[in-house]
């Protein structure tokens, strides 16, 4: 039987609390959960047959549910779904080899949680608006492509150039929104990561790590930003375990 690791957590304050909590919880497919500990750090695991480990939606939700419940009580480092080891002895050795890195990362995320921000909009409509604004600002069409020759190749370049400039306008606009958000978040001491144009509609997909008690302040910031950018749709989610802010290469 293999051992699947859900998370690594710090139990320095209350090790007994973890065992009580684990007795009341179940892992994927109803498996019992238990802790493999080394000093102040524990790995929460369950027994599983490698062949039974299916990467489907149900298992992923159950797995995330366990991490979510633990995160409400402990500072933790979530493990990737499907992190398997062959025995508790090997887990113990792994905890020992990576003890310092685990401690460092646990300190980094202590009393913090992750929030997700997705900003949706109709990017085609937005591009059209940005183009109109750019043309109005310069009183002439923005950087008109010189139409010297009327060849099929030159027409193709002109068409592509037009699309390229619209893309650049959109990216400049997105950068300005990100700069605005970053400015607001600096007040909350948040660590952030941004991804631009995740899909045609999701122009910004961001994650923030900040103190748990600053949740309300973050909601207020997003409300302000929404008022500032009425044509964009801001969606804030959380609090989540720090999925995007743990960087350890396990030895």
């Amino acid at each position: 039987m293999d051992k699947m690791i859900y998370s690594i957590l710090s139990v320095k304050k209350n090790p007994k609390k973890l065992n009580t909590l684990l007795i009341a919880m179940k892992g994927i497919s109803g498996a019992d959960l238990y802790a493999v500990s080394l000093d102040e750090i524990s790995a929460v695991v369950c027994d599983i047959k490698r062949a039974d480990l299916i990467a489907d939606k149900t298992n992923a939700i159950e797995y995330a549910g366990v991490i979510e419940n633990l995160a409400q009580q402990f500072t933790l480092l979530p493990m990737r779904y499907g992190s398997l080891m062959e025995s508790t002895d090997l887990i113990n050795k792994m905890l020992g080899r990576n003890y310092h890195e685990f401690q460092q990362n646990l300190q980094k995320v202590e009393n913090k949680c992750e929030f997700g921000l997705k900003i949706f909009c109709d990017s085609e409509k937005l591009k059209a608006e940005l183009r109109a604004k750019s043309e109005a600002d310069t009183k002439t069409p923005a950087k008109p492509a010189p139409e010297i020759k009327n060849s099929v190749y030159r027409d193709w370049v002109n068409k592509k150039l037009k699309e390229h400039r619209l893309e650049e306008l959109l990216l400049t606009y997105i950068d300005s929104v990100i700069a605005e958000i970053t400015g607001y978040l600096a007040r909350l001491n948040a660590v952030n990561k941004f991804k631009k144009m995740a899909t045609e509609k999701t122009i910004i997909d961001a994650v923030f790590l900040l103190d748990k008690e600053r949740k309300d302040a973050l909601i207020h910031v997003i409300e302000e930003l929404q008022n500032q950018y009425p044509r964009l749709n801001f969606v804030l989610t959380g609090p989540w375990p720090p999925y995007n802010f743990v960087e350890i290469v396990i030895k």
Partner: protein, 114 residues
Amino acid sequence: MSEDKILFNTGSLDELSEEIGKLTSNEKSRLKLTPGNADSGLAKLVLTLVELIRKLVEKQALRRVDGGSLTEEEIERLGETLMKLELKMEELKKHFNLTDRDLNINLGPLGDLM
């Protein structure tokens, strides 16, 4: 995602659900190489890389055109080359029954390739 995790949203939940579905669904963009589909799997992999390079070249070329550093003749030649490359790519995609979505491989935490 349960609704109590949504702290702020002025849009519809349906739209949110649809977009999150797009962000998390990578079924089409997975590279599935098996003994039975080695040919098409390899074609998908190779065409993905070719398409990535083609798009990078096109983007760089358009930046140079936009920057005004090319002569009319150079722009003409560039247009001809890039247009032919695009048409050839369309032919290859059609031949191997692939779409743009198929060639946009999902790189997990790094997001989509293109």
